[in-house]
Point group: C2
Chain length 340, copies 2
Amino acid sequence: MRLDARKTAILRTVVEEHIRTGQPVGSRTVVRKYHLGLSPATVRNEMADLEEMGYLVQPHTSAGRIPSDRGYRVYVDELMEETKLSKEETRWIEEQLSSRVRDIVSLIRETARVVSEATNYLSLVLGPQLDTTSCQSVHLLRVGPERALIVITTETGFVESRLVDIPPMTDEDMSAFSRILTKNLAGRKMADLPGRLASMKDEVSRYGRVITTLMDFLTKALVEREERLYMGGQANILNQPEFRDSRKAGEVFSVLENEEAVDKLFDIPAGSPVSVLIGEENPLYGVKDCSLVRGTFRLGSALGKIGVLGPKRMDYARAVAIVRFVEEKISDFFGGRSGW
Amino acid sequence: MRLDARKTAILRTVVEEHIRTGQPVGSRTVVRKYHLGLSPATVRNEMADLEEMGYLVQPHTSAGRIPSDRGYRVYVDELMEETKLSKEETRWIEEQLSSRVRDIVSLIRETARVVSEATNYLSLVLGPQLDTTSCQSVHLLRVGPERALIVITTETGFVESRLVDIPPMTDEDMSAFSRILTKNLAGRKMADLPGRLASMKDEVSRYGRVITTLMDFLTKALVEREERLYMGGQANILNQPEFRDSRKAGEVFSVLENEEAVDKLFDIPAGSPVSVLIGEENPLYGVKDCSLVRGTFRLGSALGKIGVLGPKRMDYARAVAIVRFVEEKISDFFGGRSGW
DNA sequence: CTTAGCACTCCGCCTTGCCGAGTGCTAACC
DNA sequence: GGTTAGCACTCGGCAAGGCGGAGTGCTAAG
């Protein structure tokens, strides 16, 4: 049996109608929406076929049908029409981003907020991973007689810092050390820094313990990447009728509280176009009733990720459009624009 | 009518029983729990009195009674016995904190996580406000030919930074400028920095626009205090039976997504002891079915806040004990301990 | 191939009745 | 006078039964 034009049209109607109302869709409703000279009986036959083919399921005998994961998949991949955001919407998003952003961290945080408000779903934004970013400068700053702050800036404008104890040294020593560090490390990927530091050991041995602490710091900063995940619009999930029972919502939140779990949902290669994970397709039990629209954005050489998490019957077209648009805007921000 | 010893004992029993089971408590139950030669009928009379006095309410005729806000208030203020945390618990908390903390931000974040796991409620931690903190150093770091990073460290170990465009200047100029800034600003409250900068204008006029940007940055950093709120254990709220209906939970989450609203809940003077906000006592509509146990902690001269948000029938004694303990631990961390 | 008709299924909703828990009141008891 | 037993009453929760509506599958006719 093949998905001919008519089956396709009916499938599309069922999916869109279900997305709109949340209810199972019956043959009569399809006829009403899908204006063509067809009777409910004919549509019933087609829908029976679609069920046999695995695109629709009946929650129970003698109810309407709802899309299966596979049905949503076909819809997303082939049937859905791309949505254009309205002028007002794009302007609103741009305004929100440009007026509140003053550094990379706030850019990411505001993105989470804006995406959740624009979609009315829950948004997830993973800040760039440090290891793929290039180091821009390393400085050692005195903040006390035997205390200093190591500050590493990255090409993308991130600043990582850590307090360390240092042996007594003069200000000139510290500047010299900073220069040596920057000279040797600038331009390198963050992931390579510990290795580089090891090979510099001789050159800087006279700075003693600082160098050890620094290596330790760098290694940790890469491994325990901190505070990468930002979320917005948690309340939106709770307003979805499929999560009326808060225990269902609790399963979702338990997953989201675990950053490693969230990483699994975003296991996509750099530069992938916007993709969609539907229901059981996603690897975590707790969110198997959800869909995730996810994309990537670049900040220089670093890669961030952005996602919209909603019920399976989410408005995919709109979510995709918003993610695409925001991705683009974020990348614009790194176009050497000054002022932050 | 006075709250004599017997009424008090009955009130305590009702509150504790209701906290334990979540159900309205009847006279028979009270008799079973409160071993004293009294019949249910007597207890009924007493409970009727307690209701008249405003400490108990009946959800509907012929159900048991539950505590009113005022009933909880008396319980919290006068009846509740202080809980001692067990050795294992205190050790667990200490371990969690010390093993994962490597700077102030991570301390705050981990505190949120630990408190929510220890209490099984939702935790809120407000990082110190910058304006009450003293500035420790100001540095200008070159990160490009005409680009620099302003890095301000505070006494509490916070690091605020911002990229700025600079006029061409030599490395020596930058170091000199950094020294001038640090000399003039170190030790001052962050809130005073903009004023100080203004009065330095002549001395540093030759650095041109940098000084303007710096003032702008400082002013903003104080006003738009960013990312102060950390939360943990959102899923815990959803497991409470009173929030079974996720729309109730949604109201709570809507409040918590708004940082200014959360600030209102924490409107307590510096150094206050642990206090409790019960139900309608709190100023925000969305959380009127919740109670908040809140405390403050000091990091040097800066003030942070910590709260446990749960249903009104939360385990107050335990929550208070945990908040007290964690407050103390956090302050210990600032005791000049090195290593982070 | 399409359609009308029909019997059937099953959910959702309402009503009814019943049980249990708890109350308030009254009268008796110590 | 405080305490208690007894009793009638109230109300939520639950299960059972009935009904209407929406939807289906099948069959036979167009």
